[in-house]
């Protein structure tokens, strides 16, 4: 019965702090420190962890930015020139003032890396397994790069005598300077890719031999077969295949065309033909089914083409062509163009009484390409004109993956790069018998250990935008039209360092904590603490007010309801 009687609490003069009171019991929701994908990251075909590399660039850590970029894409200088940048359409900042100029920033970092002659680190481990890649375009090079970084032996077979695929024989040098293309490809090869040029694989035996010589094969042969316009006689000397002409032009020796050229097609390829022809002194008209706004070519490309004196006959189609005394007479008619959806073809309706005539010396068609499936291993299942693949680019045939134009209708360089990357990851998992998450959503640099990865993307509403002064995006200058036609130099000029830093500072870093301490600083209860490179919420004290969430400039905090 010898109970200890506690000393009485003093009636005045405090003797302790309120830290003994655990106010955490008041709350109904607890903030969570997360790492979440930005919308740009999800929209990016390579899932390029944009918030991370922009943050590094903003901090003038260009090397770090380049390393972050090249975890996903070995070609930032190329993508920074030719990517169709769906990331920018998805950018949260567009709901605030203007989308970030992500693509131009990427080019800035890529160019900087070339100027600095940075090269990729050798793989940390070398593996015995070997993988064959067929096709040296962006899809094949991307897969080869990722596989080499993982330590696999990689053999690359390319039919032509140079690597690059359509980046070289499709995209002209005024949009993608050849020294840039060469530098970025050379860097990949330097990682130790066993390249075989002029090595076209087109017999079943060759495919079989290849398959048995390697642990896995990645098919990235692109779409080589030109689509042709049914009403035109391609045997006529004045009817020309766009891709072939462009390939020759890019190589420096295009076949001769008459003075006046009509290019048929509304995509990037058609515009490249048109603009290349302008650079060779032709008078050029582009005839496209789509209206200018509907054309699949990028808005900027069309603008630039018009600046360069290309005439545009949009929303129109060729009805008949015949040779006349002064050259060709092309009977045309205005149309309305209704784009198709998945599985549904587009619809074209003639506008009655809108006939008109174009005069020309040559017609170049550039209306798309299909893969040449006949040259491929017949065992590979097809899906219409394409090779059939699943979400991780597996063909279903044992040990064979495919990607790029050969297996996809997303006919863009970065889509090809992304598919190459995903295929490489899948091959790696298969060769190491690992199970993996097919989703690429979480394919970003690992965040602070304390952060919980979250799949839901960061919405604009969760960014405390008031921290960012309103500022329009950086507008990169273009070479003057006359100079372009005269010299054939790159049209798009780079951002300078100040512009790049300025632009990078506009990024909301959606879902990527920037260690700004705002959450720590705004908590009335001192319930957010720094832990190493991240942050932790002290459950003992947090009252669940949500201020840290509301004030986070990057959307890296969210609230999770608690049930007690």
């Amino acid at each position: 019965m010898n109970q200890m009687i506690p000393p009485p609490v003093p009636t005045t003069w405090t003797t302790a702090t309120t830290e003994a009171v655990h106010t955490g019991s008041w709350r109904a929701a607890l903030p969570r420190y997360v790492q979440a994908p930005s919308p740009c990251h999800l929209a990016c075909p390579v899932n390029g962890d944009i918030a991370t590399w922009i943050r590094l660039a903003r901090e003038r850590d260009f090397r770090g930015a380049w390393e972050a970029l090249t975890r996903h894409n070995p070609f930032p200088a190329i993508a920074g020139r030719v990517c169709h940048h769906p990331c920018e359409s998805a950018c949260n900042r567009s709901g605030y003032d203007e989308a970030l100029s992500i693509c131009r920033l990427e080019r800035f970092v890529g160019d900087h890396a070339i100027a600095q002659r940075w090269s990729f680190a050798a793989p940390p481990v070398e593996r015995d397994a070997s993988v064959a890649v067929v096709g040296g375009g962006p899809a094949g090079l991307s897969a080869a790069y990722q596989l080499r970084r993982l330590g696999y032996r990689v053999t690359l077979h390319e039919a032509r005598d140079a690597l690059g695929g359509l980046m070289r024989h499709g995209i002209p040098s005024y949009r993608l300077a050849r020294d840039v293309l060469d530098a970025e490809i050379a860097r990949v090869v330097a990682l130790g890719v066993d390249v075989h040029l002029s090595a076209r694989l087109d017999t079943p035996a060759a495919w079989a031999a290849l398959r048995s010589a390697h642990d896995a094969v990645f098919v990235a042969t692109g779409a080589q077969r030109q689509k042709r316009l049914p009403g035109l006689d391609y045997a006529q000397p004045w009817v020309v295949d766009g891709a072939a002409w462009l390939a020759a032009a890019n190589a420096g020796a295009p076949p001769a065309l008459g003075r006046r050229v009509v290019v048929i097609g509304g995509g990037s390829a058609a515009l490249d033909v048109a603009r290349s022809a302008r650079r060779r002194g032709h008078a050029v008209t582009v005839l496209a089914l789509e209206t200018r706004a509907q054309m699949p070519a990028q808005r900027e490309e069309v603008e630039e083409a018009l600046e360069e004196g290309v005439a545009l006959a949009d929303g129109a189609m060729l009805v008949a062509a015949r040779e006349g005394p002064g050259g060709l007479r092309l009977a045309c008619v205005r149309v309305t163009f209704l784009p198709g959806g998945p599985g549904a073809p587009f619809v074209v309706n003639r506008v009655d009484g809108s006939d008109f005539e174009l005069h020309a010396d040559a017609v170049v068609t550039s209306i798309g390409q299909d893969p040449d499936l006949a040259a491929l291993d017949a065992a590979l299942p097809a899906d219409g004109a394409l090779l059939a693949v699943d979400a991780v680019q597996a063909t279903g045939a044992d040990g064979v993956w495919a990607g790029g134009d050969v297996a996809s209708l997303a006919r863009f360089v970065t889509d090809a790069i992304g598919q190459g990357k995903r295929a490489a990851q899948a091959i790696d998992r298969a060769l190491r018998s690992r199970r993996g998450d097919a989703a690429a959503r979480r394919d970003w640099a690992p965040g602070p250990a304390a952060a919980t990865p979250r799949d839901a993307p960061v919405e604009l509403a969760s960014i405390a935008t008031h921290w960012y002064p309103r500022q329009v995006r950086a507008h990169a200058p273009r070479l003057a039209a006359a100079a372009r036609l005269a010299g054939g130099d790159e049209v798009q000029l780079p951002l300078d360092v100040a512009q790049a830093l300025d632009e990078a500072s506009r990024c909301f870093s959606c879902g990527t904590c920037i260690a700004c301490d705002t959450c720590v600083v705004v908590c009335p209860d001192l319930a957010v603490r720094r832990t190493g490179d991240g942050y932790a919420v002290l459950g003992d004290y947090c009252k669940g007010c949500g201020l840290c969430v509301a004030e986070c400039p990057t959307g890296s905090m969210d609230m999770v309801e608690e049930v007690r």
Partner: protein, 300 residues
């Protein structure tokens, strides 16, 4: 964004009794951290006194004296002089009082302490009402705001205490807001380096009293500054005025619409408030320009 470089060693402890999201506590946190450990606080009855903790616990890591509601500045004077008399001249005396304890019941002794230029930093945590007693009006409550004692909206305007304090000719008078934290911290630092009476009024959106969600205190404070309803100013020696944020980026209506205390305000009342803010703003701008000071100081 530029990271907020305002982290100091904490002088306020977790576990205090402030409402979730309380800007009173947040403001006190930063004022205390900036003042540092060689400081004594005087905290009269108010929300802050509740936050200070129930006996035997204190949420402040510095000594606090809690005076009667009406006597903060006098008590701080006594404390100041006692520190002087016992060889502790460097110890700062900091008052953290509510607007009721400052504009109203404690105004007489505040005016006297200002007239004597007593050496203290007096911070009024201005939540525009008697919140500790359940949200009644004070002379700091703005025109048209509904409180427990003005259920149909206050019929008179907010007392201009900054002007009054400046008229005392004290070395430093300033307004601040936790929404503009670097500015607040800079002002506290500046005040700390001055001797004599330094007076600061900090706007404290009261979540309960103003009718705001728990996470909206800083937003309301920010809107108040951005619309000009609560201008950020400094007055040195009673004469040199500086308007620290000298552009208004939103109408008063946007600020009002955040708060339940202005619910049901008629359009002409909104317009009247806007006109009041405009007039006060023009006057401040003119004063600030008169000394070439508009926009001086870093707002954020």
């Amino acid at each position: 964004m530029t990271p907020l470089d305002v982290q100091r060693e904490a002088m306020l402890c977790s576990g205090h009794a402030a409402c979730p999201g309380c800007i009173d506590a947040l403001t006190a946190r930063h004022v205390l951290a900036t003042m540092g450990p060689d400081t004594m606080a005087v905290i009269p009855p108010s929300c802050m006194a509740v936050i200070a903790g129930p006996q035997p616990m204190s949420s402040l890591r510095i000594p606090v004296y809690q005076p009667t509601l009406e006597s903060s500045a006098a008590a701080a004077s006594g404390l100041r002089r006692a520190l002087n008399a016992t060889g502790r001249r460097d110890t700062q005396v900091l008052v953290l009082a509510g607007d009721g304890g400052t504009y109203d019941i404690g105004f007489q002794c505040l005016s006297s302490a200002a007239e004597r230029n007593e050496d203290m930093l007096y911070v009024c945590l201005d939540n525009e009402g008697y919140m500790n007693t359940g949200a009644q009006k004070s002379s700091s409550t703005p025109h048209y705001a509904r409180t427990g004692s003005t259920p149909a909206g206050k019929t008179s305007r907010k007392k201009n205490l900054v002007e009054i304090m400046a008229a005392h000719g004290v070395p430093y008078v300033a307004t601040a807001s936790a929404s503009h934290l670097p500015d607040l911290v800079r002002k506290v630092e500046k005040a700390k380096a001055i001797r004599g009476m330094r007076f600061m009024s900090v706007l404290i959106p009261c979540l309960d009293g103003w009718g705001l969600p728990d996470d909206a205190g800083l937003k309301a404070a920010r809107y108040a500054v951005e619309c000009g309803a609560f201008p950020l100013v400094e007055v040195e020696d009673g004469t040199r005025w500086t308007l620290n944020v000298d552009t208004r980026t939103r109408p008063v209506a946007e600020y009002l619409s955040l708060q339940a205390r202005y619910r049901g305000l008629a359009d002409d009342e909104v317009a009247a408030l806007q006109a009041e803010v405009d007039a006060a703003w023009d006057q401040l701008l003119a004063r600030s320009r008169a000394r070439g000071g508009a926009g001086a100081g870093e707002p954020r």
